[in-house]
Symmetry: C2
Subunit: 119 residues, 2 copies
Amino acid sequence: MSDKSLEPQEMWAQMKKNSDGLVPAITQDYETGDVLMMAYMNEESFILTLETGYMHYYSRSRNSLWKKGETSGHFQKVISSFIDCDRDTLLFKIDQTGAACHTGNRTCFFTELKDLGSL
Amino acid sequence: MSDKSLEPQEMWAQMKKNSDGLVPAITQDYETGDVLMMAYMNEESFILTLETGYMHYYSRSRNSLWKKGETSGHFQKVISSFIDCDRDTLLFKIDQTGAACHTGNRTCFFTELKDLGSL
């Protein structure tokens, strides 16, 4: 980071949080441009992501911090990171080890709506 | 849509909603792969998007339905649409007329975190 960069805590303070106090983070394959997944960050996961260079999320269902790849080995190394114009969504361009999706698919967005069947 | 496709109302019923009853929708330029924006859909905007082939959103701040490009002319034509593995996020590959961002930038994600300054 350059000398002018804000600290991660200061960046977090400038973001608009959703009703759960979280910020959605989109990951995109930095080489292919494929959108891989979307998950949520709390302050701790955001700071850890910037400090370690690897994607960390906050699991709403498990109510806990989560380093992507911790159990699967499918880590996501941050290449570059962006915030949108109204500062309520993050975009990370990443180097994905293995599959982003827990199903084994490269991306979580592997189902076209037209192919969506009944549950 | 093929004969096997669900109706938009049935698709909506199968999605997990966030705490506000909405589903986040990511748009991606179908040619360049650039992630353009992320906004939210309610049932009405989701159905209108599928029925008209143009992106509609729900504005949380204005509490109203919103057709993208209605005032700016910067419409977003849907090319293909996807849902993620846990059915709580949508991805639309679109043909963007003009700029996606109200600032005039092509994408809303034009600010790198390292360049984020104090407010």
